[in-house]
C-alpha cells in the first residue's frame, strides 16, 4: 500500500512509504547521502550553502514560519564557543503529526539535513530533541543514527573533508512547552522546561549559553533537497522553488485529521488549495458529514468556517488573508455535528494543562478561560460570559514570555468570532444542544478510516 503522491511534490516523502523505507540501504538507494558527500566534497563552501538556503525561501516549519537562512545568519561571526544545532522534534501541537512521519519513515534524510545544516552554520554538534511520547521515533532515530555512524555519514572527518558532525538523540518528557525553542533548550540542559525571556535569542545565547539554532524537523530535512537541487527560482520553476509561491516556497507536510476518508500526512506544494487537499488527497469528507470548520495550522491558529476554508490555499499569505495562520500544518477538519464550544473546551484544557506557569497572564488566564468555556458547555453560564471570555483572552495576548498564551487566546477569540451563535445557544438553552456523537470532538486520532492502521503491513512496529 502506498500513499497517493501529489504530482512531483517530493522533497521529504519522495519514495514509496512502507516499513522498509527507513533503513540506510533504502535511503542510499534513493540518492541518500550523495548530497552531503558532494556538498562537503567541495560543491559548497559553508557560506555558499547558507546563501543557498536563504535564497530558497525556506521558512521554518515549526509554526512561526521564520526564514530559516535568515535565522542562521544571526549567528555571531566569531563565536566564543561551539555552535549547536538543535532539531525540534517535540511535535506536541494538537493536530500536528508530520515530523513523526519524517522520523519514522525517512530518518536518514533528517540526519543528512543535520549534517548539511551544521556544515552551513559552522557547527559540529547537533541534538535531536524528541517528544517524550514519541517512543517509536526515538527508537528509530537511535537506530538510524547508529547506522549513519557505522557507515561514516556521521562522526569525525566526514568523507575526508575534515568536517566533524555528531548527533545526540535526546528524549523529552512529554511537555508541549518544551517545543518552544528556549523551553526546549532549558529542558535539554536538564532544567525545568520553561521558556527564557528574549532577547537574547538562542542564536546568541542558547544551549549552555552558546550560540544555538533551533529548527523544526521538516525545515532541516528540507535542506537536503535545497542543497541537492539548489534554491532555484519561482518564476522558471527550478530547484526548491520549483514548488510553492514566491513567499511560501517549496512543499509542506500537512497532517490531516478529522472526519475525512483518508486522514494522514501529505506532502503538497505550498499554495495547494485546501479543497484539493481535502477532496483529492484525503478522499473527501466522510459520507454524510459536511465540513463545518477548519483549523488549518495546528490548534494554536484561529479557526475558520467552511466557506472560508474552501477558499484557502495552503501557504502563508493565503492563510493570513483569510484570518488564520499556516502554523505547523496540522490540519484539523471539523465536521458538521461537532459542538464548537466543546471543541474549544478540549483545546483550552490542553493549554491549561501545558502552560509552564511562569507568566501571570498565561498561568492564570489559561485556567480561567477553560473554566468559563467548561461552564458554557455545561449550561452554567450567563450571557455576559461570552464577552468576559473574549476580554480575558484579549488580556492574555502579547503580554507573556512565549506565545503559548497567544496560542490559547487566538483560538478562543476566533471560535467566538466565527461561532458566537453557538455559544449563545448553549447559554440560552442551559445545556449543550449537540448530542455529541463524536466523543472526542476534534477527533485528533482520526475520524475516518485510518488508512495506516487497517493495513497490517503498514502498522508501525518500533
Amino acid at each position: 500500500m502506498t500513499y497517493p503522491i501529489v504530482d512531483g511534490a517530493r522533497v521529504l516523502l519522495n519514495f514509496e512509504r512502507n516499513t522498509e523505507s527507513w533503513p540506510l540501504a533504502s535511503y542510499e538507494s534513493r540518492h541518500g547521502y550523495v548530497t552531503a558527500k558532494e556538498a562537503l566534497g567541495g560543491k559548497y563552501t559553508p557560506e555558499a550553502l547558507l546563501e543557498e538556503v536563504k535564497q530558497s525561501g525556506l521558512r521554518g516549519r515549526g509554526g512561526a514560519g521564520f526564514p530559516t537562512g535568515l535565522k542562521w545568519s544571526f549567528l555571531p561571526r566569531d563565536p566564543e564557543g561551539p555552535i549547536t544545532l538543535v532539531v525540534n522534534a517535540d511535535e506536541s501541537e494538537p493536530g500536528t503529526f508530520k515530523d513523526r512521519v519524517v522520523m519514522e519513515e525517512n530518518p536518514h534524510q533528517l540526519i543528512e539535513g543535520c549534517v548539511l545544516s551544521c556544515y552551513a552554520m559552522g557547527s559540529n554538534n547537533c541534538y535531536i530533541y524528541i517528544r517524550g511520547e514519541y517512543v517509536g521515533c526515538l527508537k528509530r532515530m537511535h537506530a538510524a543514527v547508529e547506522e549513519a555512524y557505522a557507515a561514516g555519514h556521521l562522526g569525525k572527518n566526514l568523507y575526508g573533508s575534515g568536517f566533524d558532525c555528531d548527533i545526540t538523540v535526546h528524549s523529552g518528557a512529554g511537555a508541549y512547552i518544551c517545543g518552544e525553542e528556549t523551553g526546549l533548550i532549558e529542558s535539554l540542559e536538564g532544567k525545568k522546561g520553561q521558556p527564557r525571556i528574549k532577547p537574547p535569542f538562542p542564536a546568541v545565547y542558547g544551549v549552555y549559553g552558546y550560540p544555538t539554532i533551533v529548527n523544526n524537523v521538516e525545515s532541516i530535512a528540507s535542506v537536503v533537497y535545497i542543497a541537492d537541487q539548489g534554491a532555484g527560482a519561482t518564476v522558471d520553476r527550478t530547484g526548491y522553488r520549483r514548488w510553492g509561491t514566491e513567499k511560501s516556497a517549496g512543499t509542506k507536510l500537512f497532517s490531516v485529521s478529522g472526519p475525512v476518508k483518508r486522514p494522514g500526512v501529505y506532502e503538497v506544494p505550498m499554495g495547494y488549495p485546501f479543497a484539493d487537499l481535502l477532496n483529492k488527497e484525503c478522499g473527501g469528507m466522510l459520507d454524510g458529514i459536511a465540513l463545518k470548520a477548519l483549523i488549518v495550522g495546528g490548534s494554536s491558529v484561529p479557526v475558520v468556517d467552511a466557506d472560508t476554508a474552501m477558499q484557502i490555499t495552503m501557504d502563508y499569505e493565503s492563510c493570513q488573508e483569510h484570518g488564520t495562520l499556516l502554523g505547523s500544518g496540522g490540519v484539523i477538519v471539523i465536521g458538521e455535528g461537532t459542538c464548537m464550544v466543546r471543541a474549544l473546551w478540549v483545546l483550552l484544557r490542553f493549554y491549561h494543562h501545558e502552560s509552564c506557569g511562569q507568566c501571570t497572564p498565561c498561568r492564570e488566564g489559561t485556567g480561567w478561560i477553560e473554566r468559563i468555556v467548561h461552564r458554557i458547555e455545561h449550561g452554567h453560564a450567563s450571557p455576559n460570559d461570552i464577552d468576559e471570555l473574549y476580554r480575558i483572552a484579549d488580556g492574555m495576548e502579547l503580554r507573556t514570555i512565549c506565545t503559548l498564551a497567544d496560542a490559547a487566546a487566538w483560538p478562543t477569540k476566533s471560535f467566538i468570532d466565527v461561532f458566537r451563535s453557538e455559544f449563545e445557544e448553549h447559554i440560552d438553552k442551559g445545556c449543550c444542544p449537540y448530542d455529541n456523537q463524536f466523543p472526542d470532538p476534534l477527533n485528533l486520532r482520526g475520524g475516518g478510516v485510518p488508512q495506516r492502521h487497517d493495513d497490517p503491513e503498514h502498522v508501525f512496529v518500533p
Binding site: Q358, T360, P361, E364
Partner: protein, 573 residues
C-alpha cells in the same frame, strides 16, 4: 642589577600611560515620560525610570536578584528609534522594563492608557486565584498586591468559578511558613536561594496554575539567611514563624538601626511598638549588606531582652550613691591621673561602643599619648560562623571603628589588652576603666579577671550588661544599649553605619557620650566636643583619620541617606 632596573621601569611604563585614559563608564540618555535621564549602559529601564522619579510597578523584579521577568507587571510603552522608519517604534510585544536595557534615544512612557490597562489586566490575573485573606494575613499593610490593587486595579471581582486551591501552611524549615494560595510565583524566593545564598533549597514545581514553591526533595530550608525570603516575598505567601500574628504592621514604628551581630554591621530597621522590638528588618545599604541580613541579626533583639543590666549606678563604700556621685568620683580620678601620670591608667574599650564614644573617651584619657594604655576587647564571642554571604567571624560590630577613633594603645609604651592584663596582675595599674561586658573572654575567664582586678585600686565599669567585672567594680554606671542610643559603627570593610535610638532607655541608664561629657565636666577635663553632632563633625575632620580615609571606607556617616526600604520591594521613598 641593571637588568632588573630596566625591566622594572619597562613594566611600569604602560601603567603610567594608561592612567590619563581611565575608563569612563559608558552612559546612555533616554527619556522617561519626557524627563531626560542619563544612566550607565546596561541599566534596566525600570532602574532608569527610578532616576526620573518614576516607580514602575513590579512584583518579580528585585534589584538584588537576577531578573526573571515573569510577573509582567512592569510592562510600559518602550519605543526605540527606528532609523528606517525615521521614528520611534514600540516593540511588537510590549517590553517588560525590568528586562530591557536602557538605550540611547529611547522613549519610555509609563502611564499611557494602554500601560495602565496592561497593569490592571495583570493585576486581575494575579488576584484571580488569590484568596484575598488580608484580614488574617501578616503581610497586610506592606503587601505589594494590596498596594498595587489600590494604585493600579480597583476593579470588581468578575470571578464566579471556584478558585484554585493549593497547599497552605507548609513549613519551609522552622522559621518560614508557605501559603501556596497567596503565592504569585514571582520566583523571588527561589532566586534568592539560587543566587544570594547559593544553597538552592527552594524551587517551583508543577506547571501552570498548579505550580507551587517547594523545598527541594530531601532537603531542609535551614540556611542562615532564610528569613530574607519572607521580606522579599511581595505577598504574604512566606511568613516568619517569629512574626506571625504578633502585630499588625501599621502599628510598628520604624527606626533605622545597625546590626551588631558581627562586623558586617548590616543596616537594619528596628520595628517596635510600645517600647518593645517586634522585629528587625534589613535596610538597603550598597557595599555593606545590600538588601539582606542574617537570621542571627534578626534575633538579636531577643538577646538584648535577655541581657541582665546593672540596676543603678553604684560606688564602693557608699550606699545609695547617686550617678552624680559616681561621675564626680570618676572625673576626679581621671583628673588626678592627668597630673600624676597616665601610665597607671588603663582603658578597655568595647567593640560595641560607638565611634563617637570611642573618640571622646580617647581624647579624655589622652589618645595617642606616650604610655597610654587603651585597648578594645571582645564583648561577644558566640554567633553564627563566618560565611561568604555576609557573616564575618567577629561577633562584634565596631572593633575597627573603636580602635581607629581612639581606643588604641599610645604611640610609645602603650599596652594592648594582654599588656594591660599583665600590668594589672603586677599591680602597675591604679585605675582601670572597662566599657561594656565580656572582659573574661579576653582575660582568661572569670577567676583570672577577679585575680587581676584585685590588684587595681579603682575599677570602673560603664556597661549595659552585667558580667564578671560588675560585682568587682568600685564604680558602675549603667549605659544604654544600641537600641536606646544614637551612634555610628565602622564595619570590617571601613563602611560607617549609623544607628538611631529606637526604644526609651530604662531609668538611670546613661547615653555613653553624654556620660563622658559629664565625667569630663566633673573632672575639669576639657572636652573636644560639646555634643554628638560636633563630635561627629570633628571625627570626620580628624587629620589622622582623614589621612587614612577613615580606614579606606566611605568618609561619611550616612544617616537617613538611602531612604529605600525594600520590604516587599515597594520602594518607600
Amino acid at each position: 642589577m641593571s637588568d632588573n632596573a630596566t625591566s622594572e621601569s619597562a613594566s611600569e611604563k604602560p601603567e603610567v600611560a594608561v592612567e590619563p585614559t581611565a575608563p569612563v563608564p559608558e552612559t546612555v540618555t533616554l527619556s522617561i515620560d519626557g524627563i531626560e535621564v542619563t544612566v550607565p549602559k546596561g541599566t534596566k529601564v525600570i532602574e532608569a525610570a527610578k532616576q526620573a522619579g518614576k516607580v514602575i510597578p513590579h512584583f518579580c523584579y528585585h534589584p538584588g536578584l537576577p531578573v526573571d521577568g515573569n510577573c509582567r507587571m512592569c510592562i510600559a510603552d518602550v519605543r526605540t528609534w527606528n532609523p528606517r522608519a525615521e521614528k520611534h517604534m514600540p516593540a511588537r510585544r510590549p517590553a517588560v522594563t525590568c528586562w530591557v536595557d536602557a538605550e540611547d534615544n529611547m522613549q519610555v512612557f509609563t502611564d499611557t492608557p494602554e500601560v495602565l490597562k496592561s497593569r490592571a489586566t495583570v493585576m486581575e490575573f494575579l488576584l484571580l486565584n488569590h484568596p484575598v485573606d488580608c484580614p488574617i494575613c501578616d503581610k497586610a499593610g506592606e503587601c505589594m498586591l494590596q498596594d498595587y490593587y489600590m494604585l493600579h486595579d480597583r476593579q470588581r471581582s468578575e470571578v464566579r468559578d471556584e478558585k484554585v486551591h493549593k497547599p497552605r501552611l507548609v513549613p519551609f524549615g522552622d522559621r518560614i511558613l508557605y501559603n501556596g494560595e497567596r503565592c504569585i510565583l514571582c520566583s523571588r524566593c527561589t532566586r534568592f536561594t539560587e543566587h544570594v545564598t547559593g544553597t538552592h533549597e527552594l524551587g517551583i514545581v508543577n506547571r501552570g496554575d498548579r505550580a507551587i514553591v517547594e523545598v527541594v526533595e530531601g532537603g531542609d530550608f535551614a540556611n542562615a539567611y532564610t528569613d530574607n525570603v519572607a521580606d522579599i516575598c511581595p505577598v504574604g505567601a512566606l511568613t516568619k514563624t517569629d512574626f506571625r500574628f504578633k502585630k499588625r504592621v501599621w502599628f510598628l514604628k520604624h527606626t533605622e538601626s545597625v546590626c551588631g551581630g558581627c562586623s558586617r554591621t548590616c543596616n537594619t530597621v528596628v520595628d517596635h511598638d510600645r517600647e518593645e522590638i517586634i522585629r528587625i528588618m534589613p535596610r538597603e545599604r550598597p557595599g555593606v549588606n545590600d538588601f539582606w541580613i542574617c537570621n542571627e541579626g534578626r534575633d538579636l533583639y531577643k538577646e538584648l531582652a535577655a541581657t541582665e543590666r546593672p540596676a543603678a549606678a553604684s560606688l564602693a563604700g557608699k550606699d545609695q550613691a547617686s550617678a552624680e556621685d559616681v561621675i564626680a568620683w570618676i572625673g576626679e580620678g581621671l583628673a588626678a591621673h592627668k597630673k600624676e601620670g597616665r601610665e597607671r591608667l588603663a582603658v578597655i574599650g568595647s567593640s560595641w561602643m560607638s565611634n563617637e564614644e570611642a573618640w571622646l573617651l580617647g581624647h579624655l584619657v589622652g589618645k595617642g599619648v606616650k604610655g597610654q594604655h587603651l585597648a578594645v576587647k571582645t564583648d561577644r564571642v558566640d554567633g553564627y560562623p563566618a560565611d561568604d554571604v555576609l557573616h564575618t567571624d567577629d561577633h562584634n560590630p565596631n572593633r575597627l571603628g573603636a580602635s581607629a577613633s581612639g581606643i588604641a594603645p599610645g604611640k610609645k609604651d602603650g599596652k594592648d589588652l594582654a599588656g594591660i592584663l599583665a600590668a594589672a596582675q603586677a599591680g602597675e595599674i591604679d585605675t582601670l576603666i572597662v566599657w561594656g561586658p565580656g572582659l573574661a573572654h579576653d582575660w582568661g575567664g572569670d577567676d583570672a579577671v577577679a585575680e587581676a582586678l584585685a590588684k587595681v585600686a579603682r575599677v570602673i565599669q560603664l556597661t549595659d550588661a552585667v558580667d564578671a567585672v560588675t560585682p568587682l567594680a568600685h564604680a558602675v554606671i549603667p549605659l544604654r544599649n544600641w537600641a536606646e542610643r544614637d551612634g555610628t559603627w565602622t564595619n570590617v570593610d571601613g563602611f560607617h553605619s549609623r544607628f538611631k535610638k529606637a526604644l526609651r532607655p530604662p531609668k538611670g541608664a546613661w547615653d555613653g557620650f553624654e556620660l563622658l561629657l559629664a565625667i569630663a565636666d566633673a573632672g575639669g577635663l576639657k572636652s573636644p566636643a560639646k555634643n554628638l553632632r560636633e563630635a561627629r563633625k570633628k571625627l570626620k575632620q580628624d587629620p589622622e583619620l582623614q589621612a587614612r580615609e577613615f580606614l579606606d571606607g566611605r568618609f561619611e556617616f550616612p544617616g537617613n541617606q538611602t531612604g529605600f526600604r525594600h520590604l516587599g520591594g515597594v520602594l518607600e521613598t
